[in-house]
Subunit: 399 residues, 2 copies
């Protein structure tokens, strides 16, 4: 199979130009045009438990691939398996049970802009809108790997290849990333080959016609435009596993970076952001309903979100909203039963606004992990989960 | 089975007095005599990867139970199971495969003394010596539950009863705690019914002849003097699940506490402590090898330990020592393969001592979780995992 161009085999045109990009909503905050990277305006996020598909953050590394036709699409499953598979979209929809999971995706670089105030960082300058919750449907990766006869004692990793061609990729393969086979074969982890997002066909920006959803992991492992699955002994050697998406020590910069010192980021850490009001909003004195999201990895739950309006002296508990339910003051049974939850929570709290002031937020998850006060700067500017601080300015009278 | 006194049935004498306590090492720091609670002097901890049995921290809630004879010991397994079991120690040793796991235990109240400086807290005043790493051997709980024919679709929790009689327990049962059945039945979680610690028979202070070891959970769930296992629908209603060992909001004190608002603590969060030098040690200027431990929950790994000697302006990476191996600058394959590790890491770093000064330490785990700078105060004083800070004083000349 070496030398085979999997994106052509999978039914994609070779696209290295940006003249076939899909239409996009003007409401997105565009952080980079080519490749297209855009986030949801943060104040729109807490308006619904599921972020609408066309407002969901878009993280692309290359032009959006063009599928020749849906009929031509093929997914290859190969590597350390007894029965390599070649599956059409129809196969995936009819030969495997359909599974649905609500899961938050977060770009590892979410909130990079705040971190870059400590020391400059290259990379897409995300605010805090590079996270979103959605309902995903598709075939369980586990079922597909079982059908391919994966050898769990021989393979240890599952590599995904996307049909996009990121320029950073030295070997000109598609986008590559892998996850541990243990995660893939654990049904409770609900790793999906998804063909639906919020009940609709995937849009081109979100991986049409097929993408991976790895609940609890950073978005970089939920490979879009999935064209190939390879069961392997070792984790992927793709650029985005070995030379990016690592949480390097703060002592490393481009002069002394040792990429091999640090494992690729996989799990999400506990996170929290204030979405409304936006930073530097001008407000008058009085009560204001502050709203935001919180999330964590490993299928854990957000136990608590706290806000401070007096410089971290006192912290008040926000109301947690999970779907339609308010979760505070009742312990969901699924928490104590050890069941996993991959979704974010929304939260709200009415606070007294006295500008100028700073609103601070932090979360605590069910494993009792919480957030550091300041970002731990790192070269790739990833995994900023420091307390979220929003500056509020006084209304100036328009004389 | 109601009304049955399980500690007598299991072969224990009823002990409510402290006249049959075992002998103890003088090197332990005793925080409470009755019940006996003692921690390892922190500077002894990093001297060996496994803490010697008689120096391992002891957390008792009552007099140490007295077993009438090893032959009379019986473990009952009952509740929502097809075949209730009554097992002798010999049964456990011969009818089930022996499994060995290296796991750290940490009392949820470890480092309570530091937290109580913010606002007073009742409870055993632990320094940072209420944690220890050991090798545990015994039968996998999973195997025993399978032999009892547990119904995983009916039961959701496994309750453990110890033969001690904590005075807080209103119903005069033994010590009670439960874990989710999901955790118990997952072989990767390695939940053990342990009869050996570091290759020796369990000592009385550590649960002779049988205790539970729940890797990754706070010590309070690793029930000692195990006499009964009950498979249930709901989590245990024992005192130490419902009215203690909860990470309450900082707004709650004994006047307004709502125990039902917060789930019982289960998983350990990321933690780190400086063991050598001890706080307020007098040192002369010059290089000093600082040593300590770090640990985390969920089978995650410690990715990094950082020290600051200039008030958190700069952070240097410590060397991680796992067993005999130094782990920095090589990514253990088990990390990337998603295998679990329940053990602590030891670490060391030579720093320049210029008293008076403060040495600070913090850890980052493989899920990118790190520690808050200051403790999140809570009524029970649990889960303090703030940056560890050790004050160093100048040597005063002895004139």
């Amino acid at each position: 199979m070496n030398g085979h161009i999997s994106y052509e085999y999978a039914g994609y045109l070779r696209t290295e130009k940006y003249d076939k990009e899909p239409p996009r909503r003007k409401e997105l905050i565009v952080n980079c045009e080519k490749p297209f990277n855009a986030e949801t305006r943060p104040d729109l996020l807490p308006r619904s438990f599921y972020v609408p598909n066309d407002l969901f953050f878009v993280r692309n590394h290359a032009p959006v691939p063009v599928l020749r036709s849906e009929e031509e699409f093929r997914l290859r499953v190969e590597g350390i398996v007894a029965y390599p598979l070649l599956l059409s979209l129809q196969d995936l929809k009819t030969k495997f049970r359909k599974h649905t999971v609500t899961a938050v995706l977060q770009c590892a670089g979410n909130r990079r802009t705040e971190m870059s105030r400590i020391k400059p960082i290259q990379g897409v300058p995300w605010l805090h809108g590079a996270a979103g919750n959605a309902v995903w449907s598709g075939a369980l990766l586990k079922d597909v790997l079982m059908a391919a006869g994966v050898y769990p004692n021989k393979a240890e990793h599952v590599e995904f290849e996307g049909a996009d061609l990121p320029p950073e990729e030295e070997n000109r393969s598609g986008y590559l990333a892998s996850i541990p086979l243990k995660k893939a074969l654990d049904e409770d982890q609900e790793v999906l080959l998804a063909y639906e997002m919020n009940g609709e066909i995937l849009s081109r920006d979100h991986g049409y016609p097929l993408r991976v959803i790895v609940p609890g992991f950073v978005g970089a492992r939920s490979v879009k435009w999935l064209s190939r699955i390879i069961c392997k002994m070792d984790s992927s050697e793709g650029f985005f596993m070995t030379k990016d998406y690592k949480y390097l020590p703060s002592s490393m910069d481009f002069g002394n970076v040792d990429w091999s010192s640090t494992p690729p980021i996989m799990n999400l850490s506990v996170q929290c952001a204030i979405c409304d009001p936006l930073p530097d909003t001008k407000l008058s004195q009085g009560p204001y309903k502050v709203r935001g999201y919180a999330l964590t990895g490993k299928g854990d739950h957000i136990m608590r979100v706290e806000l401070s309006v007096n410089g971290s002296k006192d912290w008040q508990e926000a109301k947690l909203i999970k779907g339609e339910k308010i979760a505070n003051r009742e312990i969901p049974k699924r928490i104590t039963a050890g069941l996993k939850d991959w979704s974010w929570v929304l939260w709200e709290l009415v606070v007294d606004i006295k500008p100028p002031m700073v609103i601070m937020a932090r979360a605590i998850d069910s494993a009792c992990n919480t957030q550091p006060e300041v970002p731990l700067w790192n070269l790739r500017g990833v995994m900023n989960n420091s307390w979220h601080k929003v500056n509020i300015l006084p209304l100036t009278s328009a004389l």
